[in-house]
Subunit: 150 residues, 2 copies
């Protein structure tokens, strides 16, 4: 879908902004009927908050903006397969659709049983997996060279 390309490209741009800011480069965009409602990137370092993932920030911004706890008609685009925390948050919001770029075999929500998303949420892997993964790999390679921590 053309929209999926466009919105995932925006999410990737958010991931690049995270990279520039020294954050783990993951970006997300939340849309409703082709309109961007929220976009953000990982800010766990800036906010010193382990819950400040791109998905959670988009979700909190969108629910505050829409004054609704539920996002049944929304689609979330994110550059990496969400972790269980984010999948659990998307389940509470009953998000309509989830599209992620790169799979995360180590921490991704699809590893877990029973399923972590809401039963009515449609989800799929979408475009730009290679670009999203390359950005993450480059970030962690550079980080390992520059510091002995982690």
């Amino acid at each position: 879908m053309k929209d999926d390309q466009r919105f995932m490209a925006l999410a990737l741009e958010q991931a690049r902004q995270a990279y520039q800011a020294g954050e783990v480069p993951i970006g997300a965009v939340l849309t409703i009927r082709g309109r961007v409602i929220a976009q953000d990137h990982n800010r766990t370092e800036e906010l010193e908050d382990p819950t400040a993932h791109a998905e959670i920030l988009c979700l909190s911004a969108a629910t505050a903006f829409l004054r609704s706890k539920y996002l049944r008609s929304a689609t979330l685009y994110v550059t990496l397969e969400p972790c269980p925390m984010c999948a659990g948050a998307l389940a509470w919001a009953q998000i309509g659709r989830l599209v992620y770029a790169a799979p995360d075999p180590e921490r991704g929500f699809t590893r877990y049983q029973p399923g972590l998303l809401h039963p009515r949420t449609r989800w799929e892997q979408g475009p730009f997996a290679e670009e999203a993964l390359a950005l993450l790999q480059h970030f962690f390679r550079t980080k390992r060279r520059s510091t002995s921590r982690n």
Copy 2:
């Protein structure tokens, strides 16, 4: 443990405050070496944010206060077994210990495989399970009588 009784009683007091405010009555207290660092209750209605669970609010407050993403020496007391979102957040924070009052067979983190907490997190069911559950049951009974929504 005497501390567990004391801190879970505080968490239960938070749950009662949530009840009074019309929120799902769940409370949490975060401590480090016998000192309360954060305490809060569910605020999903007030903030219109499905991520505003007692555990997440305590965790974000504590990491901001301590200026650290990690809470390896902290204990979280919560009146209901955490959901996958909250367990995932506690995993990112690498919380030292988790004590919950009432089990949640429907949405609790212990239902899921592989485990959702950090491998070094110790966890157990603690005191006041009956009190915590009675408060929740009373809340949902009253809510069902007063509204046709949900």
